[in-house]
């Protein structure tokens, strides 16, 4: 069975202007030792999905309105939605069995503690090792993520490290407790391409070594092609397409996925060819929608798209799309 199974997850935010349906009925699974790529633009709900799994939704204004997050733990299946996010059990899972790395390594590391202190804190808390053992483990982790002279770096503060080094330190911290699932939310977006390629290679190596599953969130289709085994494409809080990475790129079925692939300049496309952008903008997320969320921008929209929401349907083996044109 899968390591993590998310079923019909709904996370809404109740704000003055109305209800934002940030995640509106999302279903997917993450297999053991595989990488699930999550693609989407800002506001599509990809980060909120990740935060819901981690139990990091700020309530209020946020609320998990429904659904299940089934996590396999020591042979038992537990529903993370039912756990108190501040309770003992969730705290023993968060950071220990499910760890997360964020986009901005500078804002997610504490500037007044050394790198070593922050890694040691996680190890002591979850693994019940002594301070000394934990420190040795922290040094070993820093070495594993390729930080040169880790014995010296362990006592440095975040501002003394470069952006790439900070992200490596974050990865070291996240993997220090050997989590079963690592959630990476745009981990390389703030990095330069040459540093990004170092960090991506590192994550692939560590995934094999630590037997970790990865949920990799990004808007960069190039990174997805390089990292993911399976991909879900999100738009306005819903999954519009889900397939293997090869199917997503070779045989995209949802007009949004097709639009994304046609709109990016790529080395494999002739320079002379004009890009085909997706017209319009992502609509206001406040309030309920009738019909498909992509309909206002969809070049193929029909009458039914305006009135009824398409469900995620299996159109080919292991290839799902939420589109009336694919049914």
């Amino acid at each position: 069975m899968a390591l993590l199974e998310v079923k019909n997850l709904k996370t809404y935010f109740h704000i003055e202007a109305g209800i934002v349906r940030a995640v509106d009925g999302v279903t997917f699974t993450i297999e053991k030792e595989k990488t699930l790529g999550v693609v989407g633009e800002s506001g599509c709900g990809k980060s909120i999905t990740a935060r819901a799994i981690m139990g990091l939704i700020e309530q209020p204004p946020g609320r998990i309105e429904g659904g299940e997050i089934l996590f396999q733990r020591n042979g038992k299946v537990i529903d993370l939605v039912k756990l108190n996010p501040k309770g003992k059990e969730m705290r023993s899972i968060r950071g220990n069995e499910i760890a997360m790395i964020f986009q901005e390594p500078m804002t997610s590391l504490n500037p007044v503690y050394t790198i070593g202190n922050q890694i040691v804190e996680a190890i002591v808390l979850h693994q019940h090792l002594s301070k000394k053992e934990a420190r040795n483990k922290a040094i070993a982790m820093l070495e594993a993520v390729g930080i040169p002279s880790p014995e010296r770096r362990v006592d440095e503060y975040p501002h003394q490290l470069s952006g790439g080094m900070r992200q490596r330190a974050m990865i070291a911290m996240a993997l220090s407790c050997r989590p079963a699932l690592l959630i990476a939310d745009e981990p390389t977006t703030a990095l330069d391409v040459t540093i990004q390629s170092q960090v991506l290679d590192l994550m692939n190596e560590l995934r094999a070594e630590f037997k970790t599953s990865i949920m990799f969130i990004t808007h960069d289709l190039g990174v997805i092609a390089h990292m993911a085994d399976n991909v879900i494409v999100m738009y306005l809080g819903r999954i519009v397409e889900s397939a293997t990475v090869v199917d997503i790129f070779d045989n995209p079925r949802h007009p949004y996925t097709q639009g994304l692939l046609n709109s990016i300049p790529s080395f494999t496309v002739s320079r002379k060819k004009r890009l085909v952008p997706i017209e319009g903008i992502v609509p206001d997320p406040i309030g309920a929608r009738e019909g498909c969320g992509f309909e206002p921008r969809c070049p193929k929209a029909q009458e039914i798209c305006r009135s009824r929401v398409p469900g995620l349907t299996e159109i080919e083996p292991n290839h799902f799309a939420a589109c009336w044109l694919c049914v």
Partner: protein, 346 residues
């Protein structure tokens, strides 16, 4: 060297930022953000300027426009607007221009910034933002001003009734269109676009790229397109210059640069770009380490500590620019003997 249709020429441009320390703020060193660069931009072309953060590409753009005063060097601009009758253009050194001359030159040279959220005044209406340059240069006022603003908004794909709205009412892509309309308002000859699409969502980037290409045709514009996204730069540029630690290490026609790179840094940079194709299993060149500090750059060739082809010569001697085929310039000791990996084109 410099073609006859050159619009802008940069000669030995340097921008050093002093580093001060201690009670008396003694100058203890300098960050060589732009370190002796030479460039020319032809009328009507797009020159891409790429490099990683901290390489000096933005500083180069700002120094060309005199938003930062260069330490030394010249920026020669050939203004068609200021030409006397009978002349094709008037040649001016932007660096030596007086305040008054510079203000006049700004009509020909405009800029688009990266972040459309922080570069528009939130208390001004869109009409006031786009019309301000016209007003400041006394080009138009009253009904004519309004008329011209309307036309500008339409030309960037906005509506004329957007004039009375405020920047916060617009999405990122629309704000970037407002920025472009403002840059276009004085009918410039050259626009420096500093990372114009990197703050935008993927599906919006293509809209803005297409708009820039269309406007270039319509108004015969020349662009200096500064970006770190190599796929976008390849798409829009006629020629591309690659910057590393304040120096332009390679410059060539776009296809030439991507298909026949001559500098090991260019090779590594283009191979690091993730290809949106799951079948790509090509060899990516992994650059070790980070970009060194520009405060204390390495000896010899600045790239040698990260270069897999570096020899003793590279550690001790600073390489000079050489021409490898027509219009293809590179600063590398080993350029002639290396055969480097081009981009994967599928």
């Amino acid at each position: 060297m410099v073609p006859h249709n050159c619009l802008l020429e940069v000669r030995n441009l340097k921008k050093y930022f002093p580093v001060r320390k201690g009670v008396f703020k003694r100058t203890v060193g300098s960050v060589k953000a732009v370190d002796d660069i030479n460039l020319h931009i032809r009328a009507g072309e797009t020159l891409g300027l790429v490099g990683e953060s901290g390489c000096g590409k933005t500083t180069a753009g700002w120094t060309i426009l005199q938003m930062l005063k260069p330490t030394s060097g010249e920026v020669i601009f050939r203004s068609r607007r200021l030409a006397q009758p009978g002349e094709e253009y008037k040649e001016l050194n932007v660096v030596a221009a007086s305040r008054k001359e510079l203000k006049n030159l700004r009509r020909d040279m405009q800029i688009i910034f990266q972040d459309p959220y922080s570069s528009l005044n939130p208390r001004m209406t869109v009409g006031a933002i786009v019309g301000e340059p016209l007003f400041a240069h006394k080009v138009a006022q009253g009904a004519e001003l309004k008329d011209r603003v309307e036309k500008l908004l339409l030309s960037v794909g906005l509506k004329s009734n957007h004039m009375n709205r405020f920047p916060h009412e617009f999405s990122g892509g629309q704000r970037q269109r407002i920025m472009i309309a403002r840059a276009l308002s004085l009918g410039p000859q050259i626009i420096i676009a500093d990372e114009p699409i990197s703050a935008l969502d993927v599906s919006i980037q293509a809209q803005v790229l297409n708009l820039l290409i269309d406007l270039q045709r319509e108004f015969s514009l020349t662009y200096l397109f500064i970006a770190h996204d190599l796929s976008a730069v390849r798409h829009i540029s006629n020629r591309v210059a690659v910057m590393y630690l304040g120096k332009i290490v390679e410059v060539a026609e776009t296809d030439e640069l991507f298909l026949n790179p001559k500098h090991p840094y260019t090779e590594a940079l283009i191979s690091a770009v993730p290809v949106p194709n799951p079948h790509y299993k090509g060899g990516r060149i992994r650059l070790e380490g980070d970009v060194p500090s520009p405060l204390n750059p390495p000896s010899g060739c600045y790239f040698h500590p990260r270069c897999r082809y570096a020899k003793n010569l590279c550690r001790s001697q600073t390489p000079i620019q050489q021409e490898m085929g027509k219009g293809h310039y590179v600063i590398c000791h080993r350029a002639e003997s290396l055969s480097l990996q081009p981009i994967w084109t599928g």
